[in-house]
Symmetry: C2
Subunit: 334 residues, 2 copies
Amino acid sequence: MSDPTVRMEMDEVEKLVFDACFSAGASLDTCHSLVRAILSAEGSGNKAVGLDHLPDYLMALREGRLNGYAQPELSFPAPALLQVDARGGIAQLGFDRAFDELTTRAATFGIALLSLHGAFSAGELGYYPLRLAKAGFAAFAAANGAGLMTAGSARGPVFGANPIAFAAPRGSGPPLLIDQASSRTSPVSVRRAAERGEALPPGWAVDADGKPTTDAAKALKGALLAFGGNRGANIALMVEVMAAGLGKANWSADVESQVQGSARPAVGMIVIAITPALLDQDFAPRLDRHLRRLASNGLHIPGEAKGNAARAASRSGINIAPETIARIVAAAGS
Amino acid sequence: MSDPTVRMEMDEVEKLVFDACFSAGASLDTCHSLVRAILSAEGSGNKAVGLDHLPDYLMALREGRLNGYAQPELSFPAPALLQVDARGGIAQLGFDRAFDELTTRAATFGIALLSLHGAFSAGELGYYPLRLAKAGFAAFAAANGAGLMTAGSARGPVFGANPIAFAAPRGSGPPLLIDQASSRTSPVSVRRAAERGEALPPGWAVDADGKPTTDAAKALKGALLAFGGNRGANIALMVEVMAAGLGKANWSADVESQVQGSARPAVGMIVIAITPALLDQDFAPRLDRHLRRLASNGLHIPGEAKGNAARAASRSGINIAPETIARIVAAAGS
């Protein structure tokens, strides 16, 4: 039997998260940026990067893998390029500091790119394009992370989960929002399967020797595989070159762990913002009409369920397991 | 027993293709642009969009689906945005007309986007990023096409093959080059399987009622499926919004056939060019070092084989089946 959940209004959740971040050793700015991102993920139902992910940030703040007082450094290598050195802090604060310049320059030049490095973690990647889409921009993002995925006959992890995200404004309702890892499954799912003694489906993981395995315990010592075979592996490679190359960050194979040790992960991310109304004044309503047509034809439109969940959450709060709250409070060390 | 092939130097192949395009009714400019693209695909071993694809262009020129005398119209909705109306002509000519402005603006602003609509077909999508990578840019491209793919429980084709392509310069050797369709297989493969009475693997296609099928004949009346399940379908959707939305072109569901009828397909494409050296002076050599490391670890690096094939072709020519030459000459109507 699972624990009963408690109902909390979003401003109560905000206070819980803010207090936890502050007592784990984050500046007010870092607290604000992290709270906003965590609440956005949790409110839209993306719990794995919401409150369940918060203890990772809190432990990292306390153990030095995440610099809670980092002041991100913003520079402009070209009129439509923004470069942020997160200096060991959270990516979200770097994004917040760059947001106005990013949107102003995307509106002025038609397109602008944010390249961010030295970050602890990108967190929920869709968060960045979603915020841009709500401001009227079409946006694409890519991020890397500590090695956990391999491909082909390579031994050992050479990619992170390497997600991509894309969002675009619609004439009405929540933006279109695609946000997905390049790995077929997550490390958490493999860990759970190992704990329960369950087998993994074929094609999800390899063992420590790089051989395909369905044994979750062996997969834990090996690496994840990409979704969709070679084409998914190519997406992971493209993300790697974008996030660690154009993002000027560590290659995933060289990134230190987010959850242990004392070194800083220093991952990378790029976010590209485009002003669609400059290309087609009718872009947002036209996209909305087409997506409604596709949905009425049976197609799943990503972003709709998350948008509706976020609206419901801001109206009437969310359900949280008391255990989640306990884990947050414990990790905050207050 | 298959036909023996003939060996031709690349300048002989060039003459063959040029004469065929000219006699099918293309302007000198259109001939030059198409020749360059077809030879690039064929030389790198990507035959499906090389000489084997040429008769589609030739028939379309003769039957009016492709305007061989189109003058692409280039405009600048913003300093880093280029918009091309291909006016029923080939996408490659539009790209050639925009190339200098695209690279100049990408170098000046750090990033620039080309939005192209009203084109007959994008052809080999990797061609565009590859040319940019050879000039020192990292580049991403997306294109749509006539409906042939579906997803979820949708009935009928709602996406084209919707390829993406990405290329980036390396310190030495051919650029990294990813170029792949979002569909699990191509219409040609389904047609061949149907002709041979072979079954398709599960997950490749649906029948006319939108039900999964392994019967190639039924698949021909239905639609293809995306690679990699829901995530691949999301990639197809992202490409659709980029190419037909930001590319201001017809949605794939509304695109007329490339191979029959008299209407013009009018598909769309976007190409994004980024100047990586502005973000990291060491980008190209650093990428080269990392890709060598990944390759020595057993990872397949896309673009290497194509680059090597292209070098070999320009040195010592390529093998062509006499039947291919006969089909080109017949389609040219000369």
